[in-house]
């Protein structure tokens, strides 16, 4: 029963990471390259979603739409609330990485006739993504655990199921919570281990500060 719940946590985690990565990358790019208007907009976005407590966001996304007669499933509400929240944090990781790439890289690309978009896409982003991995493994650890918050909007993920068990068998509470703790220890370890492997694999030979190394353009 608990394992079935964990599967839902994993599904949510997957959805959160995809939403967070895609929106976070976009927000970071707008913040760094979007000019004044889009830059301000992106900064405001990052500020708002990093300021509001996760539980409040969950309630807003779950109960908000129903005010207008639109019922959205808990999974979707949780994906949006926690995914957008994570995207705000991820955007700051990626923004730092984008700004760490020396300006000479863009100058060199532009001076050979590359468009600005291509210079960013082919030269800056591949390098920035490598730098981001370390920061992302931190964000990953935090997002994994955030998935349990989704129980407040009624998602029958692992913590919700623990509650269902303990409501009937109070004596099992300690054991159940310890099991959940163990599950998250394993999940976090596995995730960080995978990211560490990725970081090593992508490391650019000879370059210590920046990880990575593509063989092809």
């Amino acid at each position: 029963m608990l394992l079935g719940g964990v599967l839902i946590n994993l599904e949510l985690l997957f959805a959160l990471l995809i939403v967070g990565l895609m929106v976070g990358t976009l927000v970071a790019l707008l913040q760094v390259y979007g000019g004044r208007f889009f830059g301000t907009l992106a900064s405001a976005y990052a500020w708002i979603f990093r300021s509001i407590p996760a539980i409040v966001l969950l309630f807003l996304f779950y109960f908000g739409p129903s005010e207008f007669g639109a019922n959205i499933p808990p999974f979707v509400a949780a994906t949006l609330a926690l995914g957008l929240r994570s995207s705000a944090y991820q955007s700051q990781i990626f923004r730092g990485a984008l700004q760490a790439i020396p300006h000479g890289q863009i100058l060199a690309a532009r001076s050979m006739g590359m468009s600005r978009i291509n210079a960013i896409y082919l030269i800056v982003i591949p390098q920035a993504l490598r730098i981001s991995i370390a920061g992302w493994s931190n964000e990953f650890s935090s997002v994994v655990k955030d998935t349990t918050l989704a129980y407040v909007v009624g998602l029958t993920e692992v913590l919700r199921r623990v509650r269902i068990i303990t409501d009937r068998h109070y004596d099992l509470a300690m054991l159940a919570y310890l099991t959940v703790a163990l599950i998250f220890l394993v999940l976090t370890y596995a995730g960080n281990h995978a990211l560490g492997w990725l970081e090593k694999r992508l490391r650019i030979p000879g370059l210590q500060m920046v990880g990575g190394g593509t063989r092809e353009i």
Binding site: P102, G104, Q105, L107, A108, A109, R110, S111, M112, G113, M114, S115, N118, L122, I123, P126, Q127, R130, I204, P205, G206, L207, Q208, V210, G212, G213, T214, R215, E216, I217
Partner: protein, 249 residues
Amino acid sequence: MSLLIVENIHKKYGTEEVLKGVSFSLERGDTKVVIGPSGTGKSTLLRCINHLSSPDAGRVWLDEVEVTAAKAKINELRAQMGFVFQSFNLFSHLTALSNVRIGPVKVKRMKKEAATKLAMEELDRVGLAEKADCYPAQLSGGQQQRVSIARALAMSPKLILFDEPTSALDPELIGEVLTVMIDLAKSGMTMLVVTHEMGFARSVADEIIFMEHGVIVEQGTPEQLFSSPKSPRTGEFLHKINELYGETG
């Protein structure tokens, strides 16, 4: 008509006027060397030519096409002008080969096989074919600069702009880069070189431009400038450089 014409370029950064009306032209196949004290706008001049920074006033023509025109296709024009930076600026996530190949593939839409062959030829030309699979961080400064020259050559440019290409190098690495540049000049490449290497200027330049405080003080053949400079400032500068860098070649 000259390959490159620079006409009355002005450029301000904030309140400081870095270029105060610079004009000259460069003939096909010629090498022109720009010398002068630091902070006199030499690098800015190069960047105004390929429009990495836009001049406030003045015009630039490359092969009869105006670079400074409002409707100029700047990416196409830049592709015809190589640029070699003081700090190399090789793409650090790409191998030497990919660094040289990326321009032909992504800018000139060349087929990858053809571009690989071309890139290997250009690496061979700068003597680094065996380093094709190395990343920039695995190369010495001199090797990196030679790769960056190969990267410029792979675009088959009409001219190459060099911005102090040896200033960031350890003294013992300067020679290998200068050798490549001398070969290039002899092979008929059109080059505009900002440098403090007087030996290079003296032996390779068709003409030398001496710049100070945003204007051209004097220009002429190496003979004229080194043996009978018209302006006392030119003489002083060459004397000082000679003291700093030793033998002028």
